[in-house]
């Protein structure tokens, strides 16, 4: 054998030899530009992402325009609740005189046969005087009529007003002294209804029309819209929203890990970083939504979050012993066969790769304030608030400072805190009504934890920032 033959043998055997590539090597090699986080929401933006962004922006603009249109259009529903009396009571005139402690309502010169010069004295009530001084003459003065004097009591109108005033004075007086809230108005209106049974339909129209005209003449349209409406109100115009909503949601999450050194070696941090790889986690929970008015709402609830992490650790100098038993037959002479059994052990030295999924779990209470706008079908909201951590724990394995993999659990996690305190939360929500009381919503969010998840004993500081897309249902209660 020549040296060339020997060399050629080695070259031919090894020139195309391949060896297994260690797991995770690409993560260390891939160019820095690819590794650098571009931010959660801007990651992998392509044509589809731009289209979604354009749709989102378009929705916001349409929602805003719809909302503005909604504001500029008068509350037609509210007005429709008050019959237009011009057609039936064309000649009626109303004057309103305030003198000292007495307010006089003249409802005269009507073509109707039951109204002539009826004069009603209004109660000497400070609250009413205040309203009167402010130029307000709401319909709800009717329930507090007191000591009314009717100059020509023979008319149906006078009888009706007299009955109504007597019926309502006692009960409404106390309420008026307390305040003039909507509850009082509604209560009064509820009491009016039995009285109104005495009215002819045409007379009801006449009264309402007269008062309406009076109020319109004084420019109290706004006040009417909010208080005078005794028929079912337009909910969206009320100042205080009594609705409650309940949200159920789940979200895929992506976490960004940030680690800073305290007392560890750079080698340890590098090794730790190379063994851990963030993966998709999730959150799920429920929230109770309390609208403060048409736009502002408060949310709180309970949520569970799980951050997943892949831990790959290579254990060097792994020794594997295999026992090999070889059986041979030796023929010594014809007919004489001996079976020989050799036992040997094969020692293989290599490495083993251990892959474990670490889980960082937490239970939190979010508390957010949101502003939402849009129409009944599509609503867009912006939310911001805080997240209070109740409990958090880390389970899995991690490298300790001697580069050995050690297990950790809820009980034995010596480096990690069981409560990470408070975090900041912000989100944008898009709600689409899917039936009378249910909305489907999508809410991209970002959570920024203010504190480290590690404690003082840890050789490094670590915290997770979480982004996700909550998808859920909002159920309107109290409708």
């Amino acid at each position: 054998m020549t040296d060339n033959q020997f060399d050629n043998f080695f070259r031919e055997k090894l020139i195309n030899h391949t060896a297994p590539v260690p797991e995770g090597l690409w993560e260390k090699i891939r160019p820095e530009k690819e590794k650098r986080p571009k931010g959660f929401f801007l990651r992998n933006i392509n044509g589809t992402g731009l289209l979604v962004a354009a749709l989102l922006v378009g929705s916001v603009i349409i929602g805003t325009l719809t909302y503005q249109h909604y504001i500029s259009v008068p509350a037609t529903d509210a007005k429709q609740n008050i019959p237009n009396t011009n057609s039936t009571n064309t000649n009626s005139t109303t004057t309103n005189q305030l003198s000292g402690n007495t307010s006089t309502l003249n409802s005269t010169k009507s073509n109707n046969d039951f109204t002539k010069d009826s004069k009603i004295e209004i109660a000497k009530d400070p609250a009413i005087q205040t309203l009167a001084k402010n130029g307000l003459t709401p319909l709800n003065q009717l329930p507090i009529l007191k000591n009314s004097t009717i100059k020509e009591p023979q008319s149906n109108f006078s009888n009706a007003v007299s009955f109504m005033s007597n019926e309502l004075t006692d009960q409404s007086q106390e309420k008026i002294n307390a305040d003039l809230s909507m509850e009082t108005m509604n209560y009064a209106s509820a009491k009016i209804q039995p009285a109104s049974l005495l009215f002819q339909p045409s007379s009801i129209q006449s009264i309402t029309g007269t008062v309406q005209k009076n109020l319109d003449a004084n420019g109290h349209d706004k006040f009417i819209k909010s208080t005078i409406i005794i028929c079912p109100t337009n909910r969206s115009r009320s100042d205080f929203n009594r609705d409650w909503s309940f949200e159920l949601f789940a979200s895929p999450d992506y976490s960004l890990k940030s680690v800073s050194n305290v007392s560890a070696t750079q080698q340890y941090l590098d090794k730790k970083d190379s063994t851990e790889q963030m993966q998709i986690g999730y959150s799920a929970g429920f929230r109770i939504v309390k609208p403060l008015n048409n736009n502002w709402l408060l949310k709180t609830g309970l949520q569970y979050s799980q951050i997943n992490q892949k831990f790959s650790y290579r254990n060097e100098n792994e020794i594997k012993t295999t026992t090999v038993i070889t059986t041979r037959s030796i023929i010594r002479s014809p007919g004489d066969t001996i079976i020989v059994t050799d036992t040997s052990s094969l020692l293989q030295i290599g490495y083993s790769v251990k892959t474990i999924r670490n889980h960082y779990r937490s239970i939190d209470i979010p508390l957010t304030l949101g502003y939402q706008f849009g129409n009944e079908d599509l609503t867009i909201g912006i939310n911001a608030g805080v997240v209070f951590n109740i409990s958090s724990w880390y389970q899995g394995e991690l490298l300790d400072t001697s580069l050995v993999s050690v297990p950790m659990s809820k009980i034995s996690s010596s480096y990690y805190r069981s409560n990470i305190g408070m975090g900041l939360y912000s989100s944008i929500s898009v709600l689409k009504r899917i039936n009378e009381n249910t909305h489907l919503f999508f809410e991209p969010y970002f959570r920024y934890n203010l504190s480290n998840m590690t404690n003082a004993a840890s050789p490094y500081n670590q915290r997770f920032q979480v982004g996700g897309l909550a998808i859920g249902l909002r159920f309107d209660l109290n409708r």
């Binding site: 020997f6 030899h17 060896a19 590539v21």
Partner: protein, 178 residues
């Protein structure tokens, strides 16, 4: 996707192409690294540094000659730089028997790639580097001398001794097998 498209994609920093290129050549290059390194950890370090240089200098590739050869040169140079840090010594090891043993090809023809890798890895650093560079990679002694900052004669003698040591080891294995 052709190799040219792949390279152009990598030059344009297309992440998908970079990943594909790595996966295409990682196995062979890891084998190269293992032949020069003393253990897998060191081989991994060489591999990491080598591929970072590949992506860093890819725009300098002229599309002339074998692309695999170009990558291999970078990996080998990286391995040599790593070995230089350890200050490898090209010492002569005194062995009994001045002449190399006569080996028939059938004595080692059955040996597999992994067996040969183990044999090479058992060589002293100086022998191993020269044997790899000359026999496997095909560099001349003058080129090796320039790369390792040694005399061409040193390279030749290291190769002869490496070859002799390998043949001895093969003979030893043969005796154990019998």
């Amino acid at each position: 996707m052709t190799e040219t498209d792949l390279i152009k994609g990598c030059i344009k920093e297309n992440a998908h192409c970079q990943r594909m290129l790595f996966e295409q050549y990682a196995g062979k290059m890891m084998s190269v690294c293992l032949r020069y390194a003393n253990d897998t950890m060191e081989a991994e370090d060489i591999m990491q540094d080598g591929f970072i240089k590949v992506f860093q200098y890819l725009h300098q590739f002229k599309f002339e000659g074998s692309f695999e050869g170009w990558i291999r040169r970078i990996i080998v140079n990286t391995a040599i730089r790593h070995l230089e840090k350890k200050k490898i010594q090209f010492k002569d090891i005194d062995e009994s028997g001045a002449n190399a043993p006569k080996l028939d090809p059938y004595t080692y023809s059955h040996m597999g790639q992994d067996d040969l890798m183990k044999l090479i890895n058992q060589l002293p650093d100086g022998y191993k580097v020269v044997f790899n560079l000359n026999v496997i990679e095909g560099y001349s002694h003058e080129e090796i001398a320039e790369m390792l900052h040694i005399q061409p004669g040193t390279s030749r003698s290291q190769l002869v001794k490496a070859r002799k040591m390998l043949q001895h080891q093969i003979l030893q294995l043969q005796k154990i097998a019998v």
